[in-house]
Amino acid sequence: MDMNVLIAVMVILPIASALFLNLLHKKDRTIKIIAIITAIVLPIIPLLTPYGSHFFGGYVPLAQDPSLAQGLPALITGSQLFQFHLGIMYVFSSAKQLMIFILGLITFFAIFTFINESKRPSGVYAFLMFMGTASVSAILLSDDIFNLFVFFEIAALAQVGIVIASGIKNNYETALKYILLGNIAGPLLLLGIVMLLGITGNVNVTDMIFTLKNGYVNPQSPELLIALALIVFGWLYASGLPPFHTIKSAVYSKALPHGSALLQAFSVFTMVAIGIIIIRLFSYNPFTNIAIIGISLIAMILGITMAIVQTDYKRILGYLAVGELGYIGIGLGLGTAFGITAGLFQAVNEAVITAFLFIGFGTILYKTRISDTRKLGGMMYVNPKVALLVLLAGLAMAGVPPLNAFQSKLMLIQASIQSGLPELGIIMILLSIVTFMTFMKAFYTIYMRPKPKELEVLDNTIPRSTVISLVVFLIVCLTLGLFPEIATNSLQTLAAGLV
C-alpha cells in the first residue's frame, strides 16, 4: 500500500518545529536558523508530494484492505460500512498543492521578515505563526470534518496569539473581542457538524456525500438545513465575512505587518477550504449558492465602502482584504466549473497580493511607528524603491494587467456573464475601481503629499529581507498574471469535481 507520508508531514513539520522553537527559549541564533530552515522547507514539501490520500494510523476503508475485515459479521461486510473511511483522511490534489505552496511561501516571507526586523526572535511569535500555518494546511487537506473543526479552533487561538504578541496599542482588547466572538461561532459550527454526523452517521466528507447522494437520508430534512446554516455561520467567522468583517479587519490592523500578511492568508485559505466542503456537501440545494453569492456581495460592498472612510492604513487594508474575499465567494457561489476555478484563482492571487501590501505598507510602520494616514506624508523621498513596489501591489489588487488579479477578475466577470448574472460582473468592475481609488488615496496621503512638519522618520534602514520579500511577491504576481495557466490548470480539476 502506498503511503503518502509527506502529506502528513505538511502538517506535522510546522507543529513539531513550533514546539521545538518554544523549547529553545532565548537561544536567538539557533532559533533563527531553525525557523528559517523550516520556513524554507514548508513551500517545498507540497511540490515534492505525490497526489493521493493519507490515512492516519493506516486505517484504510475495509474495501481496500480485506485483511482488516476478516472475522467481521455479514452485518458489517455486507453493508455500505465496508466502503466507509474509518480513520482521519487527508486528501492531496493539484489544487491543494498550489494553495499550500502559496501558504508556505507567505509563511516563509512572514518568518523571514520577522526574523530580520526584530532583534529578539525568541518568544512565542514564530511558534504561533507555524502553528497557524500547520492548522490552515490541515484545514485545507482534511477530509474529516471534525478534524477540520479541531484545527479551526487551533487556528483561531493562533490568530489571537499573533495579535496578542504584536505589542500594538489596544491589541489585547481586539484579541479578547475576537476570541469571545469565536467562542460563539466555534460551538455553533461544532453543533452543525454533529448534526451532520447525527444525520449521516459519519464525519468523513466523502462518506457523507455518499450517504446524501444515494438516498440513505432525506436531503430536504430540516435538521440537515439547520446543520448547513450553522456550518455557514462558522464559515463566516473563520473567513471574516459579514457580520465578522469589523472584528476581522480590526484583527489585521492590530497585528504586526508580517503577522497581518499571514493572518489574511489564513482567512483566505480557511474560507476556500470550508467553502469547498459546503459546496461539496450541499450543492444539491440551490439556495446554498444563492446564499453564498448574497453573503459575498454584502462582504464586497460593506468591506470596500468601509475601507474608503477609514483613516488608519492598516484598517484600510484590513477592510479591503475582507472586501476582496467577496470576489472569491462569488466565484464559489456561481457554481459552474469555470466560476469556481476563477474563485480559487482569485483566492490564490488575493493571498499573495494582500500579503504583498501588508508587508509593503509595514515598511512605513517600521520607519515611523505611525499608522494614521493623516499624520503621514512625503514617504516617497524616504524610500522610492519600496514606494514603487507598494504602488505595483496596489495596481495588482485593483486588477491592472499584466498582474495576476487582472486574470482572475476577468475570469470571474466572464463566469458571472456565462451564468446569466452580468450584474455581478458590473458590481465587481465598479468595486475594483473603487478599490483602486481607495488604495490611491492612501498611497497619495502617505507617499506623495508634502511631508507634515511633525512627522519624524526614524533613522533605521529597511531590512533587505523585507525588500526581497516584496520583490518575490511581485515576481509571483507577474508570473501568475502572464501565465495564468500555471494556476488555473491545477485548480480546474478540483473545480470540475465540485460541479
Binding site: 460563539i184 457580520p243 468583517h245 469589523t246 464586497m300 460592498i301 472612510v309
Partner: protein, 112 residues
C-alpha cells in the same frame, strides 16, 4: 445651494449629533460621498438580480430603494457608526446574523 452642499451639511449635522469632534473637511466629506455613491450604485445593481425571481418585483424594489436612498441620504455615516468596534454591538449583529441565516436557510430551501 448645490447638491454637494446639501449632503455636506447633512453629514456635518449627523457628525455633530454623534458628538464627534473630528472636523468635517473636504476630504472626509468627499470620501463619505464616494462611499455613499458606491454603496447606492452597488445595491441598485444588485437589486436588478431580483429579475430572476420576478421582473415586476424588481421594478418595485428598485423604486423602493431609490425612494429610501433619497429620503435617508446620507446613509454612510450611519452605516459606519453601526459597524464600530464595540463588543456588545458586534455581538448583537453576530447573533442577529445567526438568526437570519438559520431562518433563511430553513425558509429558503422550502421556497426556492
Amino acid at each position: 445651494m448645490s447638491f454637494y452642499d446639501v449632503i455636506l451639511n447633512k453629514i456635518r449635522k449627523i457628525q455633530e449629533k454623534a458628538g464627534e469632534d473630528e472636523p468635517v473637511t473636504n476630504v472626509t466629506a468627499s470620501t463619505m460621498l464616494t462611499a455613499e455613491l458606491t454603496l447606492i450604485a452597488s445595491v441598485l445593481i444588485a437589486v436588478v438580480m431580483v429579475r430572476l425571481i420576478h421582473p415586476v418585483l424588481m421594478i418595485i424594489m428598485v423604486a423602493a430603494i431609490l425612494i429610501i436612498v433619497f429620503t435617508a441620504m446620507p446613509i454612510m455615516p450611519r452605516l459606519r457608526r453601526e459597524q464600530n468596534d464595540d463588543l456588545n454591538n458586534m455581538m448583537f449583529y453576530v447573533v442577529v446574523a445567526l438568526g437570519v441565516i438559520v431562518a433563511l436557510f430553513y425558509w429558503g430551501n422550502l421556497n426556492v
